[in-house]
């Protein structure tokens, strides 16, 4: 189930990626108020051509439906970028998109 929207564009060897992951990102305070369980993305990773190109460990203070922007080199148009994230409950999402 693809829960992550990805835009990846290559220009002069630099790939700019923008992603939007669908996730409530409930922090401890918010979850208590909303009487829901705490859950947020804890680890977010992007891979291209079998190499990690972006990696971040995150806390509950990212906004709801977290948006991320990053750049990297070493990939070209038509290559695939894979975004993997894991949340506190262990849910995992893997999304793939071709670089344009």
């Amino acid at each position: 189930m693809a829960k992550t929207r990805i835009k990846a564009k290559e220009k002069k060897g630099v790939v700019t990626v923008k992603t939007l992951s669908k996730h409530p990102m409930l922090s401890y305070v918010e979850a208590k108020r909303a009487k829901k369980e705490v859950n947020f993305i804890t680890h977010f990773m992007a891979e291209a051509n079998g190499k990690v190109v972006y990696e971040v460990s995150t806390s509950q203070f990212l906004s709801k439906d977290p948006y991320m922007k990053f750049k990297f080199t070493g990939a070209k148009k038509g290559d695939e970028i894979t975004i993997t994230w894991v949340d506190l409950k262990g849910n995992k999402d893997v999304s793939t998109k071709k670089i344009r």
Partner: protein, 150 residues
């Protein structure tokens, strides 16, 4: 009396440990630094992650709004030419300080953008580590809760 000895040719097996860099064994700082995410002060969190709080100011371009009308979505972006290996984002408005820790791969260009939440007005701090040295920039973000901005 002649004794014959048998010599055993021992063939030592050299275990070819795959030396190829295991790129996919990503560092999850939530597992390696569990205390970092519980630190309630920015300095404590920096110490937990980098082992020191001595940092040089500057060398990172941090972009964040002066006034955020909505504390739930604050765009924070930063770029740097440092060959940093780790970059971390902190703030002091929420119960805990750490927001995100980036592990920088070789071919990354450090021009990152994220959106964060802040419960109240506070300072956003970005710390980068290059060759064991720390660089730090901070910016105050005013959060006007429920207001119409201004």
């Amino acid at each position: 009396m002649l004794e014959r000895r048998k010599f055993l040719g021992l063939s030592v097996l050299a275990f070819g440990v795959a030396t190829a860099p295991v790129n996919l064994s990503a560092v999850n700082f939530r597992e390696t630094k569990p205390n970092l995410w519980k630190a309630t002060k920015v300095d404590d969190a920096i110490k937990e992650l980098f082992g020191t709080t001595t940092a040089t100011k500057g060398k990172i371009k941090l972009k964040a709004p002066d006034i955020a009308e909505n504390g739930a979505v604050i765009p924070v972006s930063f770029e740097t030419d440092l060959k940093a290996s780790k970059i971390a984002v902190f703030q002091d408005a929420n119960p805990e300080s750490a927001v995100a820790v980036f592990d920088i791969p070789d071919n990354a260009i450090i021009d990152y953008g994220i959106r964060i939440k802040m419960a109240e007005t506070g300072t956003v701090t970005v710390v980068a580590q290059e060759n064991g040295k720390l660089y730090k920039v901070s910016k105050l973000v005013k959060v006007t809760i429920g207001g119409c901005g201004g």
